[in-house]
Symmetry: C2
């Protein structure tokens, strides 16, 4: 049994890679809900959906985001109405949000709904929302404004200077159903190559989760999201710099050393190994890029054997 | 200035007919909200939308319902997910509900949003929600069940026996902004050929509205929704029978006599005139079918001259 801490795209690739080398029934993802939002009255869970869609093979490989075969009629009409359409929701994707919102209103939990959607899409990996309570990642800026995750990420394309990140609601939230068991019972726990500050931290901020990981530290392996000091996708590098972290594998190592025994870094960053070890975490130098099935399997094998 | 009490399809035709003979800026519709619902988290106002779409010329004349050029991608995907899709929402229509729901969450009132949508669609008629408070038309059955409007109307295609209708929330609701003024200030008030029991009654059930109409009784004209004892559309005839009303223009006259001076009935029902007058309301025998522009204008002229 393998349990992974997950953000969105990087985690989706990691879970897909792991499912190539072990039975997906033996895989559990604990998924960040700090990006979740209610828009137009609809409950939207970007990380859960990205992972479900990717594992279902529905990810759009041409655009690198969104669903394969997606259409945009509703958003086009909403734009014509003068409605807020900066957060693009495809017609096919909208069906997921309508389904989830209706099921929530009928009393189902997000954990149950996530399982229903996974089953519908033929996804065998167990995906667990990190919490059923509302956790909202917020960004503060030097100008004193506070942005929601999606305002920062989508509306402003993460091109705003940030001087603080908070996870509203996290301090009183409880881990979602199955989350602590999935950590306690796993043979190995993987911290996916997701953004440590806005994908992994909002999971760790839920009381009980960090503590459970620390207990299992010997079996925790983190995969660095940086290669050559850059994130493959998203603003991890920029945010780390703005918030005073070393924008390197050394900086990643400092973040994860308290709760992970091993950090996987990319071959091209082999020179960082000594710095990583200095932070008190073992270093495993391997391939970390999951751009082909073969290279993905390499990462998965490294995670399992590290 | 003409003010009309409105349900959905029949009222949309009446307002369109009136706008052919007077400036639409001089027309106000007070629109039933008892059919409104929240589905999939979205606020849906069937009567307001039917009227807006019809006046905008967006009604689908081929099917007789829904929007012209509508597509159904989201519903098809929702159905595939196993979601509730008995209440069909087209992609184009969904944009309206997303817009409305988002604007409500941002603090706009339904009156303001209705005006925004009308302006966007180039509709000059003023459409006023009968109330900003929630009013829910409910149907009780001899088996003791209670159905929402849309469960009765759409899910069960109004083929269930009903022994009572109630308007939950109406007794404590207040008339929406502008509603009482629109009654007080109108030269003529029209009760559209909508279903009296489920389109007009939930408007009249809001304290203050019936009283205002009674004060203006001399200027109130009702258009019968029955021709030959049958409703052109919907279950008005069936519901009237089940709830003990005379299923005829006499029955309509009995319902409206306290608040309307005149009832318009169709040429083909000319024999009903004496029965109507017996109920204490004047009878105007004319065309009431609005199936062509010419015949629609005839009805509008009759309403204005009655």
């Amino acid at each position: 049994m393998i349990t992974a801490l997950c953000g969105g795209v990087g985690a989706a690739k990691m879970l897909r890679a792991l499912s190539m080398v072990i039975d997906e029934k033996d895989l559990t993802g604990i998924v960040n809900v700090g990006d979740d939002l209610v828009m137009h009255g609809l409950k939207i869970c970007p990380d859960l959906d990205t992972i479900t869609y990717t594992l279902a093979g529905l990810d759009n490989t041409e655009t690198g985001w969104g669903l394969a075969g997606e259409t945009w009629r509703v958003m086009a009409e909403l734009g014509a109405l003068g409605g807020e359409n900066w957060f693009s929701l495809g017609d096919r994707d909208l069906a997921t949000h309508l389904y989830r919102t209706q099921r929530l209103q009928h009393g189902a939990t997000l954990t149950e709904i996530t399982a229903e959607l996974a089953t519908h899409h033929g996804v065998g990996v167990t995906l667990l929302p990190s919490s059923l309570e509302e956790i909202a990642t917020r960004f503060s800026t030097p100008e004193g404004t506070s942005l929601s995750f999606q305002e920062y990420f989508v509306k402003h394309h993460h091109s705003v200077v940030v001087d603080g990140i908070s996870f509203r609601g996290a301090e009183t939230a409880r881990p979602g159903p199955g989350v602590i068991d999935a950590i306690n019972d796993a043979e190995r726990i993987v911290i996916c190559p997701s953004n440590p500050l806005i994908s992994i931290d909002p999971i760790l901020a839920i009381p009980g989760i960090r503590e459970a990981l620390i207990t299992r530290r010997d079996d925790v392996v983190a995969v660095s999201p940086l290669i050559g000091g850059k994130a493959l996708k998203g603003p991890a590098d920029r945010l780390m710099a703005e918030l005073g972290h070393d924008v390197s594998n050394k900086g990643i190592a400092a973040l994860y050393a308290p709760l992970a025994a091993t950090l996987l870094i990319d071959f091209s960053d082999g020179d960082d190994a000594a710095d990583v070890i200095d932070e008190g975490i073992d270093c495993f130098v391997t391939n970390t890029i999951m751009d082909t099935p073969e290279r993905s399997q390499m990462v998965a094998m490294a995670v399992l054997s590290a």
